[in-house]
């Protein structure tokens, strides 16, 4: 049985070799269809994987509550040029006290300040935080230690430098034990973090976060030494912002607690905030965005793959009909020599399947070119249309296709199925010829 199958397939291959060019053209549609399936799945998977990585980065079980400057110039300070807005330390206490699903909440205050070391200056992002912040953001050290709870309790003037901050302020020396100056105060450097890639933005509500130009100091120290107010000079006039906390990151235990907890937090904050001077962001949201994009790819996939496989299938059928007509005599001979209709059907069907299978294999081979192709296209776009590239969303700009085994299996299987489906009609036509007529055929 198996030997006969092998024999049939060999026969199929040898018949196809008779018309190499014709066969090659016939499988073009299949080839494109299979390649399209693999590419589009790879792109969709890339988007999804990217989103998952980013969520891992931001923490899927995290809820990020950020201070947002309200659009209208209202102020609780009462008509002064100071705007007070955003999350309050009381909010932090309230959230901790009232939302039982929260396992941990990490408050943070960030502002841009000039940081000095002798004659070296850097506009760094000064981040007031607690010990938990480092673990939360997956920061790791190259030197020294992170901030400790004790630093916060005792209002220590200590700092941990981000990778780039350290490189700029201490190009030749080990920064540990040295001092840096922020405003009028000096801080002893106790640690330096490793380089870290920026985290993802979530729509308009959460910007991408760079970590390398950070300076971390204890949150209480920041409040004590720098205060809540940030004064900016703008075209002669001075403007101030009073913000207590820039962000609170709340962590829940389970993924399905994220959405309800976020809702509870929103309701809680609504009670105490007259204006929307905060935003509650869920990293899980990224997944939804990615799913949207993947859906888009899937629609494209179904369209392109469907059309090319249909066209490919019709091409195959056309070729096979021509082959059957051309080989009418052979069919008659085989029937006379004892072939049943089923034998004839199997013969032509296996020929078609060999044909589409070869197209499928070539398509799979081209499928593996997805990654280089994306890299080449990106490189070309960057060269020719840098403006267009800049307007593309980050998750498309940085897309890394991920070829998956299942897409290869599915694409190849589809090519086989196309072979069977579109080969059946020509094969049946061959099998149901009258053997006598077929033998007389010129």
């Amino acid at each position: 049985m198996f030997r006969r199958l092998v024999q049939k397939l060999r026969l199929g291959v040898s018949s196809l070799m008779l018309h190499k060019l014709r066969s090659a053209l016939a499988v073009l549609g299949i080839l494109i269809g299979v390649t399209a399936v693999i590419w589009l799945v790879a792109l969709g998977e890339g988007v999804s994987y990217q989103a998952q990585q980013q969520i891992k980065d931001l923490g899927a079980t995290n809820i990020i509550i950020r201070s947002v400057k309200p659009p209208q110039e209202s102020s609780r300070a009462g008509g002064s040029f100071f705007i007070e807005y955003g999350l309050l330390r009381e909010d932090y206490e309230r959230i901790l006290a009232n939302v039982p699903t929260i396992r941990r909440a990490v408050p943070m205050r960030e502002l841009v300040r000039e940081v000095r070391r002798m004659d070296r200056v850097l506009d760094a992002k000064v981040v007031g935080c607690t010990a938990d912040y480092f673990a939360l953001n997956h920061l790791s050290l190259v030197r020294g230690r992170f901030l400790a709870d004790l630093d916060d309790e005792q209002l220590e003037n200590v700092a941990v430098l981000g990778h780039k901050t350290a490189a700029v302020l201490f190009p030749y020396e080990d920064p540990i034990g040295q001092t840096v100056q922020i405003g009028a105060d000096f801080y002893v450097v106790v640690g330096q973090t490793a380089e870290r890639t920026a985290s993802a933005a979530i729509g308009g509500s959460l910007e991408a976060r760079e970590y390398d130009t950070d300076v971390y100091i204890p949150l209480s120290t920041l409040r004590w030494r720098i205060g809540d107010m940030v004064v900016t000079s703008r075209s002669g006039s001075r403007e101030g912002e009073i913000v207590q906390l820039s962000q609170i990151t709340a962590t829940v235990q389970d993924l399905d607690e994220v959405d309800p907890t976020a809702d509870v937090i929103r309701t809680l904050l609504e009670k105490y905030h007259k204006v929307a001077d905060y935003a509650v962001v869920v990293p899980k949201e990224l997944l939804r965005q990615a799913e949207m994009l993947r859906m888009l790819f899937n629609v494209l996939l179904i369209l392109i793959a469907g059309i090319s496989l249909l066209v490919g299938g019709i091409g195959i059928m056309n070729i096979m009909l021509a082959t059957v007509t051309e080989r009418t005599r052979e069919i008659g001979v085989r029937r006379a020599l004892g072939a049943t209709r089923q034998d004839i059907i199997l013969q032509f069907l296996s020929e078609t399947v060999v044909l589409t299978g070869m197209g499928g294999l070539l398509g799979v081979a081209l499928g593996f070119l997805c990654k280089p192709a994306v890299i080449a296209i990106r490189w070309g776009m960057q060269r020719i249309l840098p403006d267009v590239m800049a307007t593309l969303p980050a998750n498309i700009r940085n897309l890394e296709p991920r070829i998956t085994l299942w897409s290869i299996v599915v694409a190849f299987a589809i090519s086989m199925v196309v072979g069977v489906v579109f080969g059946l009609y020509p094969a049946r036509r061959a099998a149901y010829m009258d053997p006598i007529e077929a033998l007389r055929h010129e």
Partner: protein
Amino acid sequence: MSNASSPAAATGRKCVARIVQLRKTYRLGNGLEVHALRGVSLDFQEGDFVAIMGASGSGKSTLLNLLGCLDHPTSGQYFLAGRDVSRLDDRALSSIRSRYIGFIFQSYNLIPQLTVIENIQVPLSYQRRETPGGRERAIRLARLVGLGDRLHHRPAELSGGQQQRVAIARSIINNPHIILADEPTGNLDSATGAEIMDLLEALNRAGRTIIMVTHEPDVAARAHRIVRLRDGRIADISNNTPLPAS
């Protein structure tokens, strides 16, 4: 069932095929009917060598196609290997062809993309049971028909006579009960035709039953019996040579 035209009873030989009142009527699209065979009865014994002659359109090919189980008779019976095969379905007829019948055609009808040895083996691939040593057997038959040195040639690389030799080897690889040949020398010059007839004669001497359609009297002269058809009826049966003793 035996009648005057049946020498089976006389010789006591085993009857391999028998047709009784075989009719074949073709209905044309315009309602006209063509009576290709109008009741033909014949017996064929083991080791028989029959030539069928007759004018063009007299029904020779029609008869041979019915004997070859390629078609159903309109009426009448056909006994092959002891059973009536005239009403079998397509699948059963295929199996009968594969087991009991060998075909030789006027235009050789080898499969162009296959080599000599592959062509000879084609009937084996349609046998219900797999034949062990099929390849060896094909090589032996190729040698038998004098093509031992052409095993891997394709039909296009062979002369007409050589192609017909391949077809003869192909027709006997399944050990058929009867070999049917429709004008086997029709496409060949007389010398090559004579060689082919030598080969068929040799096969017949080795015990094979051969039924052959021909137009040429000197080809027909090689057979034991000559059946003449006229307008779908047997006009005359003549015995050339007595059957060799069994």
